[in-house]
């Protein structure tokens, strides 16, 4: 372990590589088929930084996120590449070491708090249990920490809510309780898998603002997966647009949202409905995403791309720089 990672875990420094993913590949193998879910993803994340991974269903965004915590079914998953989180080689950890890292170094929040929380224990008990298990403190101390956490995630009447079962809480409060659970052992990296997708509009914005303020206050690195470009725009510092298991465009959030360069990103933004489009025909992307049973040997978007040319089918497009800290995997960008 290099010493620079030790600095990153204290979550004070910025610019250090808290998360470093190199050429990550994930395949789901069964008797009949192999699904190439993630096909060579590389990125880094510094403490205090929020990376938004934007993609449609089946693009591999959730699988990428789960690979960072090795939350994939071991028996039928082949993971390649390297994943380093706060100095730990996640893919090489022993089961015991992995469960110590999960929760204390890297934690995750999910789309459906109702299925992520245990229905037969009170939320307060579940969180205190996690604290006792990871930090070896007394139950009384753990319960006090839990109350602090409930106040931190702005649960009203926190003391009373500790004794509530998940089904007794509203959707927004359940999501707050899950955030409290994820933060209970002070992780330096938080993974968020569409945590606001199941929430109503007025609750979604509350949870996004809460996550943003907690992330700033605690200096966490966050990887936030979403299909909604509006949500990504509210929370991310940098964006990665994912298609067919690859990052096809990455860069700082504002330039990408204002001037996307990859034809898929352009299409995705153009087909996201907003008020100004009333009465106009939507510029929909034709067709549907590729079947990932075959590893795409060329640009995966070529069959749907309005700018497709012969060169697009020659091989997997390399990363083409498109501005400061920006790249897009499209050979047509350099041609124009």
């Amino acid at each position: 372990m290099s010493s620079s990672f030790a600095v990153a875990t204290s979550a004070i420094s910025t610019g250090d590589r808290l998360v470093e993913v190199n050429d990550l590949t994930v395949r789901f193998v069964s008797k009949d088929t192999t699904i190439h879910a993630v096909n060579g993803v590389s990125f880094t994340l510094a403490a205090g930084e929020v990376l938004g991974i934007l993609g449609e269903s089946g693009s591999g965004k959730t699988v990428t996120l789960r690979a960072l915590m090795r939350l994939l079914p071991e028996g039928r998953t082949q993971i390649g590449g390297t994943v380093r989180v706060a100095g730990h080689d996640v893919l090489g950890l022993s089961p015991g070491a992995l469960s110590r890292v999960r929760g204390s170094t890297i934690a995750m929040i999910f789309q459906e708090p109702m299925t992520a929380l245990d229905p037969v224990y009170t939320v307060g008990y579940q969180i205190a249990e996690t604290v006792v298990r990871h930090e070896n403190v007394s139950w009384a101390e753990a319960r006090r920490r839990t109350l602090d956490l409930f106040e931190k995630v702005q649960i009203p009447s926190a003391q009373r809510r500790l004794d509530a079962y998940p089904h007794e809480l509203s959707g927004g409060l359940r999501q707050r309780a899950m955030i409290a659970l994820a933060l209970s052992c002070r992780p330096s990296v938080l993974l968020a898998d569409e945590p606001t997708t199941a929430l109503d509009a007025t609750v979604q914005i509350q949870i996004l603002l809460l996550l943003r303020s907690l992330q700033k206050e605690l200096g966490m690195g966050v990887v936030f997966v979403t299909h909604d470009v509006g949500v990504a725009g509210e929370i991310a510092d940098k964006l990665a647009i994912m298609y067919a298991g690859r990052f096809i465009e990455t860069g700082p959030v504002t330039p990408i949202m204002r001037a996307p360069r990859h034809p898929y990103t352009e299409g995705l933004l153009a087909s996201t409905v907003h008020g100004a489009m009333r009465g106009q025909r939507l510029k929909a992307i034709q067709g549907s995403p590729p079947n990932l049973e075959i590893l795409p040997a060329a640009c995966s978007f070529a069959p749907r791309c309005p700018r497709v040319a012969d060169i697009c089918l020659a091989g997997v497009p390399p990363e083409v720089p498109t501005g400061p800290d920006r790249m897009a995997r499209c050979v047509r960008i350099t041609q124009n």
């Binding site: 509203s170 909604d228 087909s271 549907s288």
Partner: protein, 347 residues
């Protein structure tokens, strides 16, 4: 200010296609009230609205506001407790099964879950032809109509006709559901979160299709969605619901540019800014929508409203037409002499 009459709210457009008044459905809650007072969910409570031929009425609101239940009550998939529904000038209440069947062929629905709303054991062509067959269309003619409709929703019938629902993508399945809804030549189609489960790129394709079909088949839509942007894109008029009540209704531009009900205002400003340089900094509302079991007294929004006063807890605000016409709001601040300190200031 005058009492809003849904029948009179359409400026010079004649008889509405659908007129709903006093629609109500309370669901009893089982198992929660041992010996105590019986509990009910006031899912839809005295809802009035009308839909004119050729328009698209958008219904928006958060989960539990009653927007889907409203559609199901009008379709009589659920039996209403009370209320009148007039469709094509005829009263529907308490009709026989035969007349209900006749009406349902003129009024169809597309559901959110494209998979569970199709019969998994029927090839899609047969699914589309099923309705016409039940209504007495000869087999060959029904099949021919199914093939024409498949083409109309952009699917090649030779290639797709004999496939089963599990062999199609979500977007393709939703096209089948739309084709099935059109198979009986309806005048009115309820689209209940019909594009909500689709990916953005596919959603745009289906929205374009809905716009085309509306013109081609001379349809009228009731478009129910929690997605404010999609509703703005597709609707001519918008109805905003909160906890079983209509809080505001009006032309889409008026609702989106000059909403008058505090809930509509908060709902619209909860939308992501789409500009990372101008992010939302303060949440427009705190908390979740209250439980529709035992909703708040008076105005149901008062527990989350920053303008709530004593009168809001005591008196339920009526849905009143603003002088400009076609724009109805249920808020004491819009009613002169309502007892609210801001009453009538805004108008």
């Amino acid at each position: 200010m005058s009492q809003a009459t849904p029948l009179g709210a359409g400026p010079g457009r004649g008889e509405p296609l659908l007129a709903v008044s006093g629609l109500r459905k309370y669901f009893p809650v089982k198992g929660l009230s041992f010996g105590g007072p019986s509990l009910v969910v006031k899912a839809v409570d005295e809802v009035n609205f009308a839909v004119w031929p050729g328009e698209t009425l958008g219904i928006v609101g958060e989960s539990g506001c009653g927007k889907s239940t409203t559609a199901r009550l009008v379709m009589r998939l659920i039996e209403p407790d009370s209320g009148q529904v007039r469709f094509e000038g005829r009263e529907l209440a308490g009709g026989s099964n035969a007349s209900l069947r006749a009406v349902r062929s003129r009024m169809q629905m597309v559901f959110q879950d494209s998979y569970s709303s199709l019969n998994p054991r029927l090839p899609i062509e047969d699914t589309i032809a099923f309705g016409p067959r039940v209504h007495g269309t000869p087999r060959a003619e029904a099949r021919e109509r199914a093939r024409r409709l498949l083409a109309a929703v952009g699917l090649d019938s030779a290639r797709f006709g004999r496939r089963y629902p599990h062999e199609l993508s979500g977007g393709q399945r939703q096209r089948i559901n739309i084709a099935r809804a059109l198979a009986l030549n309806p005048r009115l189609v309820f689209l209940d979160e019909a594009v909500s489960a689709l990916d953005k790129s596919v959603q745009a394709q289906v929205l374009n299709l809905l716009v085309d079909l509306k013109a081609e088949f001379n349809l009228t839509y009731v478009f129910i969605s929690h997605d404010l942007n999609v509703v703005q894109y597709i609707s001519d008029r918008v109805l905003v619901m909160y906890l079983g009540k209509v809080v505001e209704t009006g032309p889409v531009d008026v609702i989106y540019n000059a909403p008058r009900h505090p809930y509509t205002q908060a709902l619209l400003s909860s939308r992501p800014s789409m500009d990372p340089e101008r992010r939302i900094t303060v949440p427009p509302l705190t908390g979740d929508p209250p439980n529709p079991i035992n909703p708040p007294s008076g105005c149901r929004f008062r527990t989350r409203c920053s303008f709530a006063e004593e009168v809001c807890a005591r008196v339920e605000p009526p849905l009143l037409a603003l002088p400009c016409g076609g724009h109805d709001v249920a808020c004491h601040m819009m009613v002169p002499n309502s007892g609210h300190s801001r009453a009538g200031q805004a108008s």
